[in-house]
C-alpha cells in the first residue's frame, strides 16, 4: 500500500482528530466554564459508559431506533416503488406526503404521548415517521427513472407486474433507495435524540439534556461525542453495505473535474 492510499484511508480519522484539536484549542483560548476542553470531555466518557443505568438507556435508544428504522424501510420501499411506477398511486399519495414532510416528526411527540403514553411505542412511532418520508421520496424518484425499455423487455419475456417490480424496478432503483435509507438513518438518530429530549423518561437524549439542565457540562459534551460517534459509525457501516450492494452502479462523482 502506498503512502498516498494510506493517507486517503485514514483521512476520516485525521479529520476527527483535527476537529478535536480545533475544539481543544478553542476551549483553551475561550477558557469558559461552560465549554470544557476536548480532553476533559473525552475523560468523562468512560464514567458514562461504565455506569450501568446509562448504558442500558443508550442501548434502549439504539433498540428503538433500529426497530423504527427497520419497520419504516420495510413499509416505505414498496410504497415508493409502486408510486414511482403508477401515476394514479403517485398522485394519490404525493400531496399528503408533501403536507406531512415539513412537519417536524419529533414535534408530534407531545400529541402522540397523550395518546400512547411516554413508553417505547410512541418513540418508535415517531422514529418510524421520521425515517419513512425520505425513503419513500427516494424510492419514488428511483422507480420513476427506471428505463421503460427494460420494463418492456421484462414484459415481453412474460414477467407479471409484481415480478417486474421486484426483478427490474427494485434493482434499478436500488442506488436511489439506499441514498434515501442513508438520509433516513441520520434522521432516525436526530428524531431519537429529540423525542427522548421531549419525553424525558429514558434514553441517550434524556441523559444529554438532563446534564444540560443540571449544569454538568462534562457529561453534556461527552454525550455529544457519544451520539456523534454513533452517527459516524452507523453511517460508515451503512456506506460499506451500500458499496457492496451497488458495486455495479458506477460512482461518477468520485472523479474530480479537471481543467486540463
Amino acid at each position: 500500500m502506498t503512502l498516498r492510499a494510506l493517507i486517503a484511508r485514514l483521512a476520516p480519522f485525521l479529520a476527527c482528530l483535527g476537529l478535536l484539536a480545533v475544539w481543544q484549542v478553542a476551549a483553551l483560548v475561550l477558557n469558559n466554564d461552560s465549554f470544557p476542553t476536548a480532553l476533559d470531555s473525552i475523560r468523562a466518557i468512560p464514567s458514562i459508559l461504565g455506569d450501568k443505568e446509562s448504558l442500558v438507556n443508550i442501548l434502549a435508544s439504539l433498540r428503538r431506533m433500529a426497530v423504527g428504522f427497520a419497520v419504516a424501510v420495510v413499509v416505505s420501499i414498496p410504497l415508493g416503488l409502486i408510486m414511482g411506477r403508477s401515476r394514479g398511486v403517485a398522485s394519490f399519495f404525493n400531496p399528503l406526503l408533501m403536507v406531512i414532510y415539513p412537519v417536524p416528526k419529533a414535534a408530534l411527540m407531545p400529541i402522540i404521548m397523550l395518546w400512547l403514553g411516554v413508553g417505547d411505542l410512541s418513540k418508535t412511532l415517531v422514529i418510524f415517521l421520521g425515517v419513512s418520508l425520505p425513503v419513500i421520496y427516494h424510492s419514488f424518484e428511483g422507480a420513476k427513472a427506471v428505463e421503460e425499455k427494460m420494463l418492456w423487455s421484462g414484459a415481453a419475456m412474460g414477467l407479471s407486474a409484481l415480478e417486474r417490480l421486484i426483478r427490474v424496478v427494485l434493482p434499478a432503483a436500488l442506488p436511489d433507495i439506499l441514498t434515501g435509507c442513508r438520509t433516513g438513518l441520520v434522521l432516525a438518530l436526530i428524531t431519537m435524540v429529540t423525542s427522548e429530549m421531549i419525553a424525558r423518561q429514558s434514553g441517550a437524549g434524556n441523559i444529554l439534556f438532563n446534564a444540560l439542565d443540571m449544569g454538568q457540562y462534562d457529561t453534556v459534551y461527552a454525550m455529544i461525542i457519544i451520539v456523534g460517534a454513533m452517527g459516524i459509525c452507523l453511517d460508515a457501516a451503512f456506506e460499506r453495505m451500500r458499496e457492496r450492494l451497488v458495486r455495479w452502479s458506477e460512482p461518477q462523482f468520485d472523479i474530480p473535474l479537471s481543467f486540463s
Binding site: 469558559n32 465549554f35 414535534a107 400529541i111 429530549m197 451520539v227 459516524i232 473535474l257
Partner: protein
C-alpha cells in the same frame, strides 16, 4: 385533455387528505377519542383562523421565519461555495471530503446544547443549528452536480478562450443548477423541521415555543395549531422554491 388529467390528479391527491380529515372528525364524533386528546378538526381550524389575525401569533411566525431564512441563506451560500470549490480543485477536495464525511452523519441536534452554552439562548444558536443542518444536503448535491458536468462542455469553453473564472460561473454553475436546487429543496424542508425543534427545546418565542407551552398546559387545540402552521409554511416555501426553480431552469430540457 392534458388539463383534465391534471385536474383529476389534483382531485385524487386531495382524496387522502379529505379522508384523513373525515377519519379525524369521525374519531371525535363517534367517541373513539375524547375531545380533550383529539379536538375536532373544525375547532382546530377555527382556532387557527382566529390566531392568524392576532399580532402576537404573527409575531411568533415572523421570528420563526427570520431564523429559518437566516440559517437557510447561510447554508445555501456556504454549501454552494464549498461544493463548487471541492468539485473544481483537487486539493480543496482532499481537505473537504474527510471533514464532510465525519460531520455530515453527525446528528446536529446533539450539538444544540453546546451551541446554547456557547452562543446563548437567542437567535444565534438557533440560526447556527439550522445552517449546520441544511448545509450538508446543499453542499453534497452541489458537489455532485458540479462534478458530473460534462467534460466536453468545459473543453469547448476553454477552446473558445473562456478564462477559468468564466468557466466556473458560466459553464459549471448553470450546469449544476438543477442538482443545486434539488439540494436546496431538501435543505429547506430540513430547515423547517430544525427551526421548530430548536424552538421547542429552548425558546421564548416562535412556533415551537407555542407548541411546547400548549403541551405543558394540556391545551390540545393549541398544540395542533402550530403544527398545521409549520406544515402550511413548508408548503408555501416549497411552492416558492418550485417557482424559482422553473424560472431559473427555463430552457433546460427536463425539470
Amino acid at each position: 385533455m392534458k388539463g383534465r388529467g391534471i385536474a383529476s390528479d389534483v382531485l385524487l391527491g386531495l382524496a387522502p387528505i379529505m379522508l384523513l380529515l373525515v377519519i379525524w372528525q369521525g374519531a371525535v364524533s363517534f367517541g373513539f377519542a375524547p375531545a380533550t386528546l383529539l379536538p375536532p378538526p373544525g375547532l382546530v381550524f377555527m382556532r387557527m383562523a382566529r390566531q392568524l389575525v392576532t399580532t402576537s401569533f404573527d409575531q411568533e411566525i415572523l421570528s420563526t421565519l427570520f431564523r429559518l431564512f437566516a440559517g437557510f441563506s447561510i447554508a445555501v451560500v456556504l454549501g454552494v461555495a464549498i461544493g463548487l470549490a471541492a468539485a473544481v480543485s483537487p486539493s480543496i477536495n482532499a481537505a473537504v471530503r474527510p471533514i464532510v464525511r465525519v460531520l455530515a452523519p453527525l446528528p446536529k441536534v446533539a450539538l444544540y446544547p453546546a451551541l446554547l452554552l456557547l452562543l446563548g439562548f437567542g437567535h444565534e444558536s438557533k440560526i447556527t443549528l439550522v445552517a449546520a443542518d441544511a448545509l450538508f444536503p446543499i453542499l453534497l448535491s452541489t458537489y455532485y452536480g458540479a462534478s458530473t458536468v460534462e467534460q466536453k462542455l468545459i473543453w469547448s469553453a476553454m477552446a473558445a478562450g473562456t478564462p477559468r473564472r468564466g468557466i466556473l460561473f458560466k459553464v459549471i454553475l448553470p450546469a449544476a443548477a438543477p442538482s443545486i436546487l434539488t439540494g436546496c429543496r431538501i435543505g429547506l424542508v430540513i430547515s423547517c423541521i430544525v427551526v421548530f425543534l430548536a424552538e421547542m427545546i429552548t425558546s421564548t418565542d416562535g412556533l415551537g415555543h407555542v407548541l411546547i407551552t400548549a403541551a405543558r398546559t394540556f391545551q390540545a387545540v393549541d398544540m395542533f395549531v402550530p403544527l398545521i402552521t409549520i406544515s402550511l409554511l413548508g408548503l408555501i416555501l416549497n411552492g416558492l422554491l418550485q417557482a424559482a426553480r422553473s424560472y431559473l431552469l427555463r430552457g433546460f430540457p427536463e425539470v
